[in-house]
């Protein structure tokens, strides 16, 4: 789901289990390609997934120091636990989720 500066707290920080957050930019071809994977994973895996456009939501991007996009971050109980910066394959995302669900 698409999350904004206004809804980030409610959807991610106040969420009681694991959330995968995809921080992406409007200029960013790798982000566009990851978007397809995220859309597929949303249907296939039992983990909450949120997308944040860093250009449209500068407050959240600054708060979490998103210095490059795409950034994929795992939040557990509202705390960032792991992040990966730069393009990743679907397999690498699944590995992240596996670690998070342990």
């Amino acid at each position: 789901m698409e999350v904004t500066d206004k809804t980030f707290k409610q959807e991610v920080e106040n969420y009681d289990w694991v959330v995968l957050v995809d921080f992406w930019g409007s200029w960013c071809p790798p982000c566009k390609t990851i978007e397809e994977v995220i859309a597929r994973l949303e249907k296939e895996v039992d983990v909450k997934i949120c997308s944040v456009n860093v250009n449209r939501n500068p407050i959240t991007a600054k708060k979490y120091d998103i210095y490059g996009v795409p950034t994929l971050a795992i939040f557990r109980n509202g705390k960032e636990e792991e992040r990966s910066v730069g393009s990743v394959t679907e397999g690498q995302i699944l590995e992240m989720l596996e670690r998070a669900n342990k």
Partner: protein, 503 residues
């Protein structure tokens, strides 16, 4: 399908002007973390009464966007065509004008001059620009705002762009000929200077004058080349599941530009453009669709067919004629159709009318600020020898012409037998493009036009410009004949092109 862009928002709309707090560095892969903490706001140039607001109004909810044949269309959209006098530029100007766009355009008639320099002419006669503009007004009620400007004249172009304030810019103002760029140093340099530096100038002007306009930039499928490995030609950018493996390690290639392998100094100019446009989007939040267009052919759009004064040019000489157009011209002249080398070269193609449909769809579905995207604008893949067979078949069955095919020495340096797999998913799936014309149908229309006595006479006059004399090696010598054969007499062999259009 018609409302494919209904959910796009102000974020994509060229009328939305950003008000402060735009973190330009954020378009790069790095962000300026010192950016102010505030929401991005816009003001609408078309509806200033709304004041400052978040860019969230969808096209379907905005009264400035109206539903039409190509999805939602921005009312009276201001579209500037660079290279409006050319084969594509003129056809697109009329199509957009008919759709209610406010069309403006520039041209310096370089194409007319180049063809004249090479001793040829457009075989379909075209009017002078003043007469074209007059006819467009009289026949279609379209007023085109035209200026004679060379894109290399940045001051004049800047002034005109400032006056028009375009909402989309179609960039056709490039030399489209591979052989012309291979004639000698003077020609190669002129082509690269105009194409590369002209485009670079356009980008700088857009940054200052029209940063919200989308740049619809014409590239070519020839930028990719034809890899012998059969690696698919993705749409400019690797998909998410592409990866690089090396010494037991693995990295995602998703989102990176795919390799380019241009096959002439002209193609090199287009590849350099790709990088320049890509960087400009990254640095300045410009937005662009870079179009990898297949080899174009044909004579027809509804608008140019209405009146003889509205025709678009049609070249068949070795420098500016494209292969299908040249084959039909040769068939009308009773010359054997000339295949270069083995004739097993597979290329991507698109008919003029279908290319114009794609352009309209891209214009009305603009990219986001900072977005650089690539589309493969293609409707079919054909082997050169199969095109010769198709032209010969249509010529015989519909017009009773006896046509032979000949293989000649290849003046180019290119692989003559190779696999080809092309991905072209975005136009059909994201923009609603539907192919409207088959190769055979368009070839038939071309015969009808070229067999008209006046056109046939013009073909006869310039017959000597058809056989290739420009060799990539630099040698000036007409290609010798390797073999002459009857259509239908050859067994099919080699590779078949694979076009991937599905979702």
């Amino acid at each position: 399908m018609a409302c494919i862009n209904a959910k796009k928002t102000c974020w994509n709309c060229p009328a939305a002007k950003f008000k402060g707090n735009v973190d330009f560095t954020a378009c790069g892969q790095s962000r300026n973390i010192e950016a102010e903490n505030a929401q991005i706001m816009i003001e609408c140039r078309r509806r200033p009464g709304l004041g400052h607001f978040e860019p969230t109004i969808t096209f379907e909810d905005c009264p400035e966007w109206e539903e039409g044949d190509y999805g939602y269309m921005l009312k009276n959209m201001k579209v500037m065509i660079l290279g409006i006098d050319g084969y594509l530029g003129w056809a697109l100007a009329l199509k957009l004008g008919k759709l209610g766009c406010k069309v403006s355009g520039v041209d310096n008639y370089w194409r007319r001059d180049c063809v004249a320099e090479k001793g040829s002419h457009t075989v379909v006669p075209i009017e002078r620009m003043t007469d074209r503009l007059h006819a467009a007004r009289e026949v279609h009620g379209i007023d085109i705002n035209f200026r004679r400007i060379d894109v290399m004249d940045r001051d004049k172009l800047r002034e005109f762009m400032d006056e028009v304030k375009p909402e989309a810019i179609v960039h056709y103002a490039e030399c489209p000929s591979a052989p012309y760029s291979m004639v000698d140093a003077k020609h190669a340099i002129k082509v690269q200077e105009n194409n590369v530096l002209g485009t670079l100038g356009v980008l700088f002007i857009m940054k200052d004058i029209a940063p919200e306009a989308s740049l619809i930039k014409l590239g070519t499928m020839g930028e990719y080349g034809a890899p012998l490995t059969g690696r698919p030609l993705f749409e400019g950018i690797f998909p998410s599941d592409a990866a690089l493996e090396w010494k037991g390690r693995k990295w995602s290639l998703g989102g990176e530009l795919t390799p380019r392998d241009p096959v002439s100094f002209y193609h090199c100019s287009k590849v350099q453009d790709t990088f320049n446009v890509y960087e400009a989007c990254k640095y300045w939040w410009l937005r662009s669709y870079d179009i990898m267009q297949g080899v174009i052919y044909g004579v027809h759009t509804d608008e140019i067919a209405t009146d003889p004064r509205l025709k678009t040019r049609f070249d068949m000489d070795e420098w500016f004629g494209t292969v299908v157009n040249r084959f039909v011209a040769q068939a009308v002249l009773g010359m054997p159709l000339t295949i270069y080398g083995r004739g097993e070269q597979i290329r991507a193609f698109i008919a003029l009318d279908d290319a114009m449909q794609c352009m309209v769809r891209l214009i009305f579905s603009p990219p986001e600020p900072g977005q650089y995207d690539v589309v493969n604008q293609v409707s079919g893949l054909f082997k050169v020898s199969d095109i010769a067979e198709a032209v010969a078949r249509v010529g015989k069955e519909k017009f009773g012409l006896e046509i032979k095919i000949q293989r000649i020495e290849n003046p180019r340096v290119e692989s003559e037998k190779h696999p080809l797999e092309v991905v072209s998913k975005k136009l059909p799936n994201e923009f609603g493009f539907e192919q409207g014309v088959t190769l055979e149908k368009e070839v038939e229309r071309m015969f009808e036009v070229l067999l008209q006595p006046e056109v046939k006479k013009r073909l006869e006059e310039k017959k000597h410009t058809i056989m290739p004399k420009t060799r990539w090696s630099g040698m000036k010598k007409e290609s010798g004949t390797l073999e002459v054969y009857e259509p239908g007499s050859k067994e099919k062999e080699g590779f078949e092109g694979v076009l991937r259009r599905g979702a």
